[in-house]
């Protein structure tokens, strides 16, 4: 057998050495001495504890923190730790000792009559795998550039870490609409799914034709020539197609059609010229959670959205708030085992259950609106009130950002002044509210410094930061002030001038 067929998930052609990945199974530990295995499990549990405690702090809402606290409590429980140590003392490797104890507990929960306990199985598996990952040190088989990779399944985060130049991906599982397939298409990596890998006995060179859905092993000369001929034909076709990209889309009657793209991962934009599109019709924000179980903070979200907004360069960008739930569960956020998750607590309903999470996202979006033409889409709205609540929260985000001293209009004003031919914008000045709290003083001054840095990065050459007066100049200088005002310190407090009406 020298040929296998599969379903094309991303078109393209590749030839290169075959690399077969072990089918998702972790490399098992070899038992060293019980003392060394004890040390290994102790370190793995400690690192899991540390990670969970950090997640707990950052969870941002009670629900997620509660779930993580449950996992943390399990890690500290003698009922779990003691039998693990016992197995280790009986010459079991640390990973199998841990897995055996956890699997027994998981089975117990799975068998429970009560749905509540069955739903906790996800948490227990999560905890089991977290410690196993720590034990295995996450060592993954390396993938050389240009290889044709054969695997049972493939994680999106891993896909992004591989140099696919000239290579391709062949999976036994996975679908054409999975995240890896979407990534493969956007990055031009040829990919097949549904290939019966058990029948692969060959190694060495292979040819992958992901247009036709063919994988050829140990090709002979004729097969190679045929492959190269088709590769050249597809390349010619692709060149012809690409000439269409910069042509404005119009109906036969001349009516202009706006062509927008969907973005599921910011990396997808790398291969696309913004000139070829009229904007982004939908940015899915679920990618923020991929490969992790932490809710990303405002700063991180802001930077990701900003990159997308700047790529679009003034073209409209519609960003959808988190659409988790249904077919897109997120551990620690969505509810497990709803009887019909597609109609359950998902989309905006889930977001309104976690207003803290939604607010972080809205604040990041409000801030990024200064850098582009941002529209916000709210997913799965069924009641007018859901939209009203989102609008109220958006208004609240704008108000809060204003009060917190992020000057929403300042960048736009600075840009407008900077282009005026007879004016030179030298710097920024602020007089924050009077306060004795040095931390608050410092925050206010630092937010002005950050604004100046941003404008400088945009190419507006500011050299002056005037902030701080007699009572708060230390915090101002610490934050980077180049000019302070010390009148009160020299001349004393001025008498208050009575205010008069009119």
């Amino acid at each position: 057998m020298t040929r296998l067929v599969g379903t094309p998930a991303a078109p393209g052609m590749a030839s290169g050495p075959l690399v077969r990945l072990e089918g998702g199974a972790r490399t098992l530990r070899n038992a060293s001495s019980p003392a060394a295995e004890r040390e290994a499990i102790e370190a793995a549990i400690a690192s899991a504890q540390e990670a969970l405690a950090l997640l707990c702090d950052q969870a941002g809402d009670e629900e997620a923190a509660g779930i993580l606290a449950f996992q943390l409590a399990l890690l500290e429980d003698d009922e779990i730790v003691r039998p693990t140590y016992q197995s280790i003392d009986n010459a079991q490797p640390a990973d199998r000792a841990w897995q055996r104890v956890m699997d027994a507990l998981i089975e117990d929960y799975q068998k429970s009559e009560q749905p509540y306990f069955r739903e906790r199985v996800t948490d227990l598996c999560d905890l089991r795998d977290r410690v196993l990952d720590a034990l295995h040190g996450g060592a993954e088989q390396s993938i050389p550039a240009g290889a044709i990779v054969l695997a049972e399944d493939f994680a999106p985060s891993r896909f992004l870490a591989v140099d696919w130049t000239g290579g391709g991906l062949v999976l036994r599982n996975g679908g054409t609409t999975g995240h890896v397939a979407i990534l493969a298409r956007s990055r031009g990596v040829p990919m097949l799914v549904g290939v019966d890998l058990e029948r692969v006995v060959a190694s060495g060179e292979a040819l992958l034709d992901a247009h036709e859905g063919l994988l050829v092993f140990e090709p002979d000369v004729a097969e190679r020539e045929e492959f190269e001929r088709r590769r050249a034909a597809y390349a010619e076709q692709a060149r012809a197609d690409s000439r269409q990209l910069s042509v404005e889309a119009r109906m036969s009657g001349g009516e202009r059609v706006r062509v927008m793209i969907n973005v599921a991962q910011p990396e997808e934009l790398d291969g696309i010229d913004p000139q070829h599109v009229d904007g982004i019709g939908l940015v899915r924000t679920e990618f923020l959670f991929h490969g992790r179980d932490r809710l990303p903070g405002e700063e991180e979200q802001y930077h990701v959205y900003r990159r997308i907004a700047e790529w679009a360069n003034g073209r409209p960008v519609t960003i959808r708030t988190l659409d988790a739930g249904g077919d897109k569960p997120i551990p620690g956020l969505t509810r497990g085992h709803e009887s019909n998750p597609f109609l359950g607590v998902r989309g905006v309903r889930l977001s309104l259950h976690h207003p803290g999470v939604l607010m972080v996202q809205l604040r990041a979006l409000v801030r990024v609106a200064l850098h582009g033409n941002i529209k916000i889409m709210v997913p799965m709205v069924t009641l007018p009130d859901e939209l009203a609540q989102c609008r109220a929260m958006l208004a609240q985000a704008v108000r809060d950002l204003r009060i917190s001293g992020v000057p929403a209009q300042a960048p736009a004003l600075a840009r407008a002044v900077a282009v005026l031919p007879r004016l030179r914008l030298r710097g920024l000045m602020a007089i924050p509210e009077a306060t004795d709290d040095p931390a608050l003083q410092r925050r206010r001054f630092e937010s002005l410094r950050e604004l100046k840095d941003r404008l400088v990065a945009e190419g507006i050459p500011l050299d002056t930061l005037s902030m701080g007066m007699s009572d708060d100049l230390e915090a101002a200088i610490a934050a980077g002030a180049t000019m302070v005002r010390v009148g009160t310190a020299i001349f004393g407090a001025r008498p208050r001038v009575p205010t008069t009406a009119g």
């Binding site: 509660g66 409590a73 500290e76 429980d77 009922e79 509540y116």
Partner: protein, 94 residues
């Protein structure tokens, strides 16, 4: 000085001893040096109140009565504190 103490309390929490209340109960129990157990009847069987696996494993529903028994230098205080926790429905002490 070793004391022993007992006490009982009705679980009114909406869902019984689920993950979050169990975490709070074990966290509080662990702050005491005494051995602390509870049972769903005054005769046991007894569950280690410091183990989340055991506490969750008791699958105690709403409306059950927990019977505590503790032994150790702070047994009295431990039973009182745990009963207080359950009586204020696992909310933080005011």
């Amino acid at each position: 000085m070793t004391q022993s103490a007992t006490g009982s309390v009705l679980i009114q929490h909406e869902v019984g001893l689920h993950a979050r209340p169990s975490v709070k109960l074990t966290q509080l129990a662990k702050t005491f040096r005494s051995k602390i157990e509870f049972g769903l009847s005054p005769e046991g069987p007894w569950v280690d109140a410091k183990s989340i696996v055991k506490v969750m494993g008791s699958k105690t529903p709403k409306g059950a009565v927990l019977h505590f028994q503790a032994q150790g230098e702070d047994a009295q205080a431990a039973v009182q504190a745990l009963i207080d926790l359950i009586e204020r429905d696992f909310e933080p002490a005011s």
